[in-house]
């Protein structure tokens, strides 16, 4: 039986007006790939456009922002309107509630991201596409989204401005500092997500870690964030 908190949260997230904007953001890479597909010469097997699209736009910006917004909304909106009280005042284990929230935010993010990434791959790779060329970046997006969602859910309980803080982290830390300071990249979710792309496509810079380590790090980030959120639920001031 599917957890009712998961289904309710997923429904609430997908019914939001901002989901339309997020869907447009998610569709942007696929649209760019379509334009590229129409413009490139027939029989071209150049992977560089797809590689740049995934590594410089999809993982670090599109996936991160969409996961951030859904992750923040999963608890944040309910904190605003008081719905969170009706969940907290139940005998459900706090970790179970948090996992349902993270899973819902993650599912909502993947509903927008997966079709866009697959379409981008099909369109920009043309006949040169393989399961690996689409599958590995997809795995990176899936795991990075999980980590972003979990971190955003945590952020939404601890701060009143989770979106602002999340955007600063994504744009300033990951998008700027971590790109030229190798040690800073170790604290970048997107860098670990991009490591999966590097498994099948050339990378501009050295990957922060191999795919196995990156996968473990991203899952560990999600697990620690889930645990910390469950603890926070019993500590933070509710409306």
């Amino acid at each position: 039986m599917i957890d009712p908190v998961f289904t309710l949260t997923l429904r609430a997230l997908l019914l939001q007006k901002r989901t339309i904007v997020l869907a447009l953001v998610a569709a942007a890479p696929a649209l760019m790939a379509l334009i590229y597909a129409l413009a490139r010469g027939p029989g071209s097997h150049d992977h560089s456009f797809y590689s740049d699209l995934v590594q410089q736009l999809f993982v670090p910006t599109v996936a991160s922002l969409i996961a951030l917004v859904f992750g923040v909304s999963a608890f944040g909106d309910e904190r605003e309107d008081g719905t969170i009280l009706y969940l907290v005042a139940t005998p459900q284990a706090r970790l179970r509630l948090v996992l349902a929230k993270i899973a819902a935010a993650w599912a909502a993010a993947l509903i927008l991201l997966v079709p866009s990434l697959v379409a981008s791959g099909f369109l920009s790779l043309g006949h040169g596409r393989t399961a690996g060329l689409i599958g590995w970046p997809l795995l990176g997006v899936v795991l990075a989204s999980l980590a972003y969602c979990a971190a955003a859910v945590l952020l939404s309980l601890y701060t009143r401005r989770p979106i602002v803080i999340g955007v600063i982290y994504i744009l300033l830390w990951e998008g700027s500092i971590a790109t030229f300071a190798a040690s800073a990249a170790k604290l970048s979710i997107s860098a670990y997500g991009r490591a999966f792309v590097g498994h099948v496509l050339p990378q501009a810079s050295r990957p922060v870690a191999g795919t196995a380590v990156s996968g473990i790090v991203l899952i560990a980030v999600a697990a620690v964030a889930a645990w910390a959120t469950a603890r926070a639920l019993g500590r933070v001031e509710l409306p």
Binding site: D81, T83, L85, A89
Partner: protein
């Protein structure tokens, strides 16, 4: 011996420099208890602390002997009506109540929800989305979701708000019955006459202080026996009438200023009998009689002052 439903021991809660609750101690176990106070008195803070939505800055809050923030399992025994709107406005009332019953681990949550909806008289609208409901109907949805899992303790934040007189009577009857069944029902309100219809015991909060606690009748007596002030506007300068009033047994003080007489009395009923006679004796025509400080704020202020005096 089982632990009481609610136990506050020296509980204070402050937000920065603002003290929301100051050293409050009480125990509640069985029956309806009114939590009375003006807006900002600390009623909602008390309920939030009881519900585990907030942590005390100092002191200890226990529900059935445990800290609800650390032991969520205790919520199986607790029903809460928060100040906020019901959850999930896109769902029907029935679905909302079923879901909250299911989250409270009620096996037959559909039957439990149907019974709770019937109890609050919402059957006709049960399949409409909550988002379309009036304030009164939303209140009843909140009450139904709090009742569906058959809790032993109910924490209700102003549950009569937005209800029409017939609905109010129905809810008051329902809460009275729940209290008589042995459940502990804490109801916050700023309206004394509403609370006294259902709660044999009240806790009065003023500016975060528990200023009075006990049987509702006794609190009512305390309030009615407090010193009252009456402004009398005599025709003329009123000196003679003021002098006459000073001689009355039930008059504690008389002040004459700008042609108006301010009388302080501990027995307004006796004064209402004596004042016309005194005016007759001094041949004074009365142009106006007006009580001062009879509003609820003044009543609470009096209880606060009285509690401070007792503390000293």
């Amino acid at each position: 011996m089982s632990a009481p439903a609610i136990e506050f021991t020296g509980v204070s809660r402050w937000f920065g420099d603002t003290v929301a609750l100051a050293d409050v101690s009480f125990t509640a176990d069985g029956g309806v208890i009114g939590l009375l106070g003006h807006n900002g008195a600390g009623k909602s803070t008390t309920l939030k602390l009881s519900a585990g939505f907030s942590t005390p800055s100092s002191g200890v809050v226990r529900i059935f002997g445990v800290d609800p923030r650390r032991t969520p399992a205790v919520y199986r025994r607790v029903g809460i009506v928060p100040d906020h709107s019901p959850p999930w406005p896109f769902l029907s009332a029935r679905r909302v109540v079923e879901l909250t019953a299911r989250l409270h681990r009620v096996d037959d949550f559909r039957t439990a929800a149907a019974a709770a909806i019937e109890t609050v008289g919402l059957e006709a609208a049960a399949d409409r989305p909550v988002g379309e409901f009036s304030h009164g109907m939303r209140q009843r949805v909140k009450l139904a979701q709090a009742l569906a899992h058959d809790p032993e303790l109910l924490l209700l934040d102003e549950p009569l708000n937005g209800l029409d007189p017939a609905q109010r009577s129905h809810v008051i009857e329902l809460l009275t019955r729940l209290g008589q069944e042995g459940r502990t029902v804490i109801v916050s309100s700023h309206v004394l006459h509403e609370v006294e219809r259902m709660a044999p015991r009240v806790l009065v909060l003023v500016n975060g202080h528990l200023v009075a606690e006990g049987a509702t009748d006794a609190i009512r007596r305390l309030i009615s026996e407090r010193p009252r002030r009456v402004l009398v506007s005599p025709d003329g300068n009123g000196r003679e009438l003021a002098r006459e009033l000073l001689g009355l047994a039930d008059v504690d003080a008389v002040r004459l200023a700008n042609g108006t007489i301010e009388i302080e009395t501990s027995d307004p009923t006796a004064l209402s009998r004596e004042l016309p006679l005194a005016a007759q004796r001094t041949a004074t025509l009365l142009r106006g009689i007006r009580p001062v400080g009879d509003d609820l704020e003044s009543v609470y202020a009096y209880l606060h002052e009285r509690a401070r005096g007792q503390a000293r």
